[in-house]
Symmetry: C2
Subunit: 334 residues, 2 copies
Amino acid sequence: MGEFELLAKLRERLPEPGPRVRLGSGDDAAVTVPGGATATSVDAIVDGIHFRRAAASPEQIGAKALATALSDLAAMGAEAGEAYVVVGVPPDLDEDDFLALLDGMLALAAATGTALVGGDVTRAPALTLAVTVVGHAAAPELLVSRNGAEPGDVLILTGELGGAAAGLLLLERPELAAAVPGETAELLRRRQLEPRPRLRSGLGLARAGARAMIDLSDGLGGDAGHLADASGVGLRLDAAALPLAKGVAEVAVAAGRDPLELAASGGEDYELLAALPAQRLAEATVAIGEAAETTLAPVGEAVAGSGVEIRLPGGGRLKTSGFDQLAARSDRPP
Amino acid sequence: MGEFELLAKLRERLPEPGPRVRLGSGDDAAVTVPGGATATSVDAIVDGIHFRRAAASPEQIGAKALATALSDLAAMGAEAGEAYVVVGVPPDLDEDDFLALLDGMLALAAATGTALVGGDVTRAPALTLAVTVVGHAAAPELLVSRNGAEPGDVLILTGELGGAAAGLLLLERPELAAAVPGETAELLRRRQLEPRPRLRSGLGLARAGARAMIDLSDGLGGDAGHLADASGVGLRLDAAALPLAKGVAEVAVAAGRDPLELAASGGEDYELLAALPAQRLAEATVAIGEAAETTLAPVGEAVAGSGVEIRLPGGGRLKTSGFDQLAARSDRPP
């Protein structure tokens, strides 16, 4: 199947985009009427680096490519808008797999209100997906950068940590699944293979007055460090307050890893970490609680200084490392 | 060098973006205040498919990736705005080459008024660049799609054809260079390696009342067909009116190819083909003439019907084929 046939099949599957899109896929460019402010982010995933075709279904791969990009919009408190997708197709990816990949992406697009309105398809030596997403807000000051945290702010974390890292361990070492019930193992694997962007939580946190926010793609330790650096503050996290996903502790122990270290340094949880003025915490958690797709937990505070400390219950400090995409070995992610 | 060090080096090289960009590279997403309408397009180039590292300098590769994306904005009559770049870095691309690639892209960005405000860097088996560009217009109706041509419209072509295809022949078969002076051969190779988007011409044609426009990335025959299909008209092109770049005829003959066929089916010239109401032709060519970065030539007309005819002086028809990115063999483009 040639490029133009593939693009035609792709376009057949696209639902009608909303009123902001004046011209969708099929022309030289998509035309939109944004209004207000836009947040734009681009994210790429490559076979052997960010996923393995042997371990993930085409639907999961397509959805993951979009999810990781949308997670950046969640971290801005933006409303999901449009997506533009480049697919690099290797010689051994057949038409059915290509369309399944697209279906996975379109299912998540529909669930998040994202319109897929443009893209490019090319040959490539390994399956490659690069997704550009555009999110919207009524005004630029409603979007939350990484750089506004102030000493005294409380740190709020969405959801639970460690699930994606534990899921990765289960995919790489199937014998570890004996440490947890089958259903738990399956949930952990899906945390790795099917990340979901916290768009509603991000929007809720932005509306509740978050002054800085980031999504956890490279691990809590690394990403909290980015937020601390950008804001010019230190972050003090309370290890005992970090919610671990069910089964993470058991899988970590079975793998000879420290559960907290796994949860704090493992990437790809795609939860959000936000800094809020302390006096807004109570109203925020109530207001967000209903809108968010997951739990919210206060996990620490911003302080004068720099760097990230994760304080252990016994008084020690946890060392963590982030996930570096260039340093990543093909034997690390699934 | 890790991802974060590379990104930091990259950011150091970025000039201050204009007032539309409220938050540039370095956060979860870039924040812009578009106003009016945006045209967004994405284009990817891959080593071995769209270029060869052996034949092109890193600067040329970086600039080509941006140029092919911006060409789509030119074809909309949009003003260049922001660019977002994914670089897939293979193991053998060193830091100097990476930065040279970026410098090539930034030089073209500066020349076209494009702000590079976001991106992603990842490992990849082959050098891959995916560029998303956002262009702007005061209102969506000022942007020119492919679908507005009407019977009776005149067809205007910017610049000259065949240069990129002849340059490709020269890169693949260096002995053909004997057919033309050295300076001409060098210009043809640069037409292949250093495409330039016709942004000013596109803006001028849009302002002059172009009703449909497309850029010639896949070859005149193929791209004219896309415009004809989208507009529901036929296009009648006069082969004798097609301006060929200097040296194309000689290189084609030396290669045993028909010059017109090479010019009409060879891709990557990145010229624009526009349909204008006939009564606007005179004023348009005067008005655009001063603004455009190249020549403008009337090359045919839109007619009731469908398909593309390229009429030869003797009364025959030229057969052409377009460039299919998926069907492309690695031995076809340089």
